[in-house]
């Protein structure tokens, strides 16, 4: 990794926007389903779009909507968001080489747009020597606009969309993460932590623990295995 000043430019933001456009199609099926489910739970179009715009975290939205009832479950929905989105906390920390050089609204505003996809692309860019932190914001705003729009479309078209659970298009979510992992792979040194992460997550999952525990168990065990191995070198 070559040292250099971290910058925050319009060029970086636009590059982020272009990268995000390539990832938007894979997001569409999930966004449509969130809109359809919101409609089925009695949320209005405005409420659906507002939730997507302010929360912008699909898995927590679908989980909260599954437990939705009248009146709205304020505590349940908040707890669902808190638990499901725990995985976002270490992402912000891992981006510190860029974020340390930002302050004020650029720092705390950019963090508001952080999601799995933008994190993965930005970590890969950072490791290849990328120094423009606006990449994260440009990607995030583009994904945010796409997410908010497509959940609204899903709500508006709820009567027309018939996607049974388990339909192959939903594999797009997992396929996106798999494709994003390719540039994150740094070589053989990643094998042990990645293997430990996969095993720990699978054990937690097949032991009957729901989200987010498999992800957190895998991430912590894998990262600890990698750190322990590095310390012995």
């Amino acid at each position: 990794m070559k040292p250099g000043p971290v910058v925050f430019t319009r060029v970086g933001a636009l590059r982020g926007a272009r990268l995000a456009v390539g990832l938007l199609p894979a997001m569409v099926p999930f966004a449509l389903v969130v809109g359809v489910v919101a409609d089925s739970k009695g949320l209005s179009f405005l409420e659906t779009v507002l939730m997507s715009a302010l929360v912008f975290a699909g898995t927590s939205q679908i989980v909260a909507l599954e437990l939705w009832r009248e009146p709205a479950p304020v505590l349940g929905a908040t707890l669902a968001a808190l638990v499901i989105n725990l995985r976002l906390a270490p992402m912000g920390a891992a981006l510190s080489p860029w974020l340390d050089r930002l302050r004020g609204v650029r720092l705390w505003g950019t963090l508001a747009t952080l999601v799995d996809n933008t994190f993965a692309v930005c970590i890969a860019d950072q490791r290849q020597g990328g120094r423009d932190a606006a990449l994260l914001l440009g990607m995030g705003l583009t994904m945010w606009a796409g997410w908010t729009t497509m959940t609204g479309v899903g709500h508006a078209a709820a009567g027309l969309i018939r996607l049974p659970p388990g339909h192959p298009v939903f594999f797009a979510g997992i396929a996106t993460i798999l494709a994003l992992m390719v540039p994150i792979w740094r070589g053989r040194g990643d094998a042990v932590p990645w293997l430990v992460a996969g095993i720990a997550a699978a054990l937690a999952h097949f032991a009957g623990l729901g989200p987010p525990w498999p992800v957190l168990a895998g991430a912590l065990c894998g990262a600890a295995a990698g750190a322990w191995r590095d310390g012995r070198r």
Partner: protein, 100 residues
């Protein structure tokens, strides 16, 4: 086009919780510079988060999901395009579902 106060409150609760997590992990790091072990863990965290994210659904889905996952990674390595890799993975799973 309604916006009910109880729904707004639930949405705001979710939004605040999510923002606290988005900003909070980094805010904690900024406030308390952790030791070398935690720094090394953060170095390994990105890949491990995603492995842990995909491992349970891929294993749960069995052979078709594992094959479609391999097609996705293979397409990404060969073509270096997110769009094509994702389309290849979904297409592979779809084809396997139709063939089954």
């Amino acid at each position: 086009m309604s916006l009910r106060p109880d729904v707004l409150l639930a949405i705001l609760g979710m939004a605040i919780a999510t923002y606290v997590l988005r900003a909070g992990g980094y805010a904690l790091l900024r406030a308390f510079r952790p030791g070398p072990f935690v720094q090394a863990m953060l170095h390994h965290m990105p890949g491990c988060i995603f492995v842990a994210f995909v491992a349970p659904p891929l294993l749960q889905g069995g052979v078709p999901h594992l094959l479609a996952g391999a097609v996705t990674v293979g397409a990404m390595l060969a073509l270096r395009s997110y769009l094509l890799a994702i389309a290849a993975g979904v297409g592979a799973l779809w084809a396997l579902a139709l063939a089954a």
